[in-house]
Symmetry: C3
Subunit: 268 residues, 3 copies
């Protein structure tokens, strides 16, 4: 995969403005919508069981995020996911905080059983939990994971038959066969709520325009990481409030030239 | 209607700080509350059927927005709307994304049947859908509408017996008899989530202090458009994040002089 | 209590990053999470009855906020509160808008009956309502209260057997025996939604690391007030949007030196 491919996919998102149906948590709904708009995509949120099948059907991508999941929303996610599957709409799953409570594990298993998920995005601790690896999760902001990160991601992709993205200091993307590492990003991302959640929605937007989901995911992570670096360069000295706003600015502004210049990744 | 009337209504909102009861979607609740506070109004959100009648009763205006509607909230909206009607509290209805799914159409029809709505605010595509005109809606951010925009708005006002506001490049306000066009605003508004939703809440705040709802609506749209222009002038080169923040600033700061200078509208 | 104690508690929050379980309203969830992250704490939101007991158990503090309460969430709050009580997790209660509707009064009474609340934080009007004092509440942003503010707070603490914080121009903290007044803060706080709600979550973070809840509360209020003053100094001329962002910045940036310099409080 070459950088020009990354740029090409970014441009395709900006030009085609895919509609992304986000079933996400109440904390990040606004930031997700503004982030997708800034990127050039069209966000929609709907979580009522009586309309999600219809919404997922017309979307370019469906995002399922369990950050503030409850039983009715879980049921609605299954309905939306099945509709997306029937209509070949890619589904991205973000198992926020899995392992923090038994219910999140049950909810995640239910989704993975009932819905054909194309891409899974979590931090390394969450990905580990998904395949029953030992790890420690503190709330929903990560934690320490023991073991080989690349191996865990690759194995998760194999077991779950999906493209798996494990984010952290470096980001790992694998479909079980092809594995990439993306070096872009900035630590301040962990101090703004919803940056992981928005990333999952951005991945859905990239998957809406690129059916090779490994390439879509790698392109999304490089793009997102470069956006973070450019925004952090301008604001990290001010604080997380300023970064959050500049991050939205740069989702629109980051150019092909900056992706070319700063993009840093490798295929293993 | 003269500009001094617009300014007078803006001042009345700022002085009387009307309480606006917003039953709105999870995406825009924060932006709506901050926007109303910046304007000088007092926001309250409540959507539980067990308290909405009591809240609507003490409010200066009630806003019903179906952006993330579900059955329980719809039931609560009807209860709140009926309470508002009994207590002569004006009701503003925002049919977000109507037509995107059958459920949104059903929910909108239910609200319009059960509640006496004073003002309806949507983009032109949404207003068209409300009266069964052909149009194309993509998600919740508008789309193309064929036909005569002014004629559609006027007809919607007649059919629905309400003041109808159809927003777009130009904004049209009609009660079926009097029709105005407001030229203010800025395209960047479409890149920040909830700017349409907040506008509907701002209209409710203006309706709380001016019982000629056409004048209230025209004043709200001129004011809001000027706020957007002043904020965009300062931030459009930076991006949508910076605009969003400056827009909140200018909701407080825009002066009578700026409304006088930039306000642009006409009665047809 | 000395200022070095305030600074010591602030540092302890920043170093230990306590996990705060927030059951709060849809308006402020994002601002609360970002505020806690900026402060150095770890936020989590969960409100489904099937997981809240598990989440509260692993948290350093539990925050219950009734800003957009409904019956299912109330039931879940009771479950979470009881779990917190069993596991010695301090519970902070924020009775947003109590008195605005009968349901909020009923919900508050239910919480106080069923859960052992460590700290209650409201504006003076809300605290008055809690103990049946006459006051006038307009929406959720305060109002006028007649009577002796210090006496009301002290009496509320006695009656409710909790540390009570009544915020306003000056903030009063009392456990019925020890009573403090904090003079820090800035009026612009009342023009940004969720600053009171976030304060309650910040109090929970301080209570997570300091088991003398009066000292935890006093430290949180001094810190929060100094943050507001520093942020307002930089942004009040621009507006509430800019303040909101700078406030998040300063939650991270405010230093021991600034707390030492600006902190202003007294024990009565």
């Amino acid at each position: 995969m070459e950088k020009h491919k990354v740029i090409e996919i970014v441009n395709r998102v900006r030009e085609t403005k895919p509609l992304i149906h986000n079933m996400t948590n109440i904390v990040v709904a606004n930031f997700t919508a503004n982030g997708l708009l800034a990127l050039g995509a069209s966000p929609v949120m709907a979580s009522y069981e009586g309309e999600v099948a219809d919404m997922a059907k017309i979307a370019g991508g469906l995002l399922l995020n369990i950050g503030t999941i409850h039983q009715q929303e879980l049921d609605a996610m299954i309905i939306a996911g099945k509709s997306a599957n029937v209509h070949q709409v890619p589904v991205v799953f973000d198992p926020v905080g899995i392992g923090a409570t038994p219910y999140r594990t049950i909810a995640s298993e239910k989704i993975l059983q009932e819905v054909n998920v194309s891409i899974i995005r979590g931090n390394l601790a969450e990905i580990s939990q998904l395949i029953g690896e030992q790890g420690e999760i503190k709330g929903v902001d990560g934690g320490e994971v023991y073991g080989n990160a690349i191996e865990i991601t690759r194995r998760a992709a194999e077991h779950l038959r999906a493209v798996v993205i494990a984010t952290g200091k470096d980001d790992i993307i694998s479909d079980g066969t092809r594995t990439f590492v993306v070096h872009n990003g900035h630590p301040i991302l962990t101090k703004v709520t919803g940056t992981g959640c928005l990333l999952s929605s951005v991945v859905a937007a990239f998957a809406a325009v690129e059916r090779d989901f490994v390439q879509a995911a790698v392109a999304a992570l490089i793009f997102y990481g470069v956006v973070a670096e450019v925004a952090a360069e301008k604001t990290v000295a001010n604080g997380t409030g300023s970064f959050q706003i500049e991050f939205l600015n740069q989702l629109s502004n980051v150019s092909a030239k900056e992706i070319e210049q700063y993009g840093s990744f490798e295929q293993l």
